[in-house]
Symmetry: C2
């Protein structure tokens, strides 16, 4: 079992506030899991009873809308924690977490985290700030969904994927979503998403390399996204 003290991703999350003793306790109680591409870390409605620390890989957080379509609420990657909201609210998960690539995650049981809350103010504060950041992002996102056109949302999402997750050597976006997933991220029909990608391609804004996407004119895309 690997030691939390030596784990680098810890430094990128609220867990950075933990001291040596707390980290040793953490190492003892955590369990390590490999999640394959397409598998769930947890599902909407499930009682999670702890949080997951993402050591490696990317996953999507989705919610089933009443019309039966999945909506991608957020992408989460290495260094971030999952399940904090459910744990604090003491409610089942509001979203499903599904791996977009093979992942390595650690599970930390609820009672351990709650102990840190009581004794380590900096840790509580970090968690609170993270959730506040999530809330701001969610509000902003909501306004975008409500007020922007599909075209604007697509442009914005491409920029987001580029800026947040970066590009490969061949300049294609590192996070490779299917057209279907991209559509469920911007909230539109798959065909509409594909059609707009074709349009963007013809306009020289992007280039479609098979299923992969290269952003060719980031400035124009940014203007387009408003």
């Amino acid at each position: 079992m690997s030691k939390c003290e030596q784990c680098i991703v810890r430094e990128f999350s609220s867990l950075k506030a933990l001291n040596k003793d707390e980290l040793i306790k953490l190492s003892d109680c955590k369990t390590s899991k490999l999640i394959k591409k397409g598998e769930h870390i947890f599902e909407e409605g499930e009682n999670v009873n702890g949080i997951f620390c993402i050591k490696d890989g990317i996953c999507k957080l989705t919610k089933l809308s009443p019309n039966g379509k999945d909506h991608i609420v957020k992408l989460v990657t290495k260094g971030e924690l999952l399940g904090q909201r459910s744990m604090i609210s003491d409610e089942p998960a509001n979203l499903s977490a599904i791996a977009l690539e093979d992942m390595h995650v650690c599970f930390i049981p609820k009672n351990e985290i709650m102990g840190f809350f009581d004794k380590n103010n900096q840790f509580s504060m970090n968690v609170m700030k993270t959730i506040c950041g999530d809330l701001k992002t969610a509000d902003d996102h909501m306004v975008n969904m409500a007020q922007k056109s599909v075209k604007e949302r697509l442009a914005e999402t491409l920029i987001y994927l580029h800026d947040t997750f970066g590009i490969n050597k061949d300049e294609t976006l590192k996070v490779q979503l299917s057209r279907d997933e991209l559509a469920s991220m911007i909230g539109t029909a798959t065909e509409s998403c594909i059609r707009l990608l074709s349009d963007f391609n013809k306009l020289g804004l992007i280039e479609l390399v098979g299923k992969k996407i290269v952003l060719k004119d980031i400035n124009k895309l940014k203007k387009m996204a408003d």
Copy 2:
């Protein structure tokens, strides 16, 4: 200056965790404000440096979208706290708060609240739970905006206004939004909103009493909202 100890609305917010001594301190540092209908409590981008406790009245939280339209993110009423997210994130307000009717609010400066955070775990936990609740609502809302039609969103919003804020003696919705405001809550053009209200009226789902709205068939509206 009225005493926080005797204030009833305190019981409906995170402040209920404060003990007698803390409430006395609170009374000493808080300032009381009357806000008239249409006035701001604070504006997007402003440094708030504390939180507001709503003693009476309702306000809308809006965000200006890049296309220049205001979007109503949330309605907030008596007993709730405002500005918690900005204070914790140590950032300017992400949203504007504008009174929908005359309001009575109390302002509590940041350093006072931060003191309670340090010393009163139950209070911190309450605040955290509130923000977690807000985050869940925001995520749900986002999915609705992205996946539902304007008609579904209108039906849902009417039900929400009914269930959350209740009705007057004449059965009209208590929160009286203009057509423009209703449209900016569901994310559509004012004319589209008006047209759909007319349709709902003709279908017998609602009744339009001047500018006021009566829900006539709540079950059908609920089905419509999904």
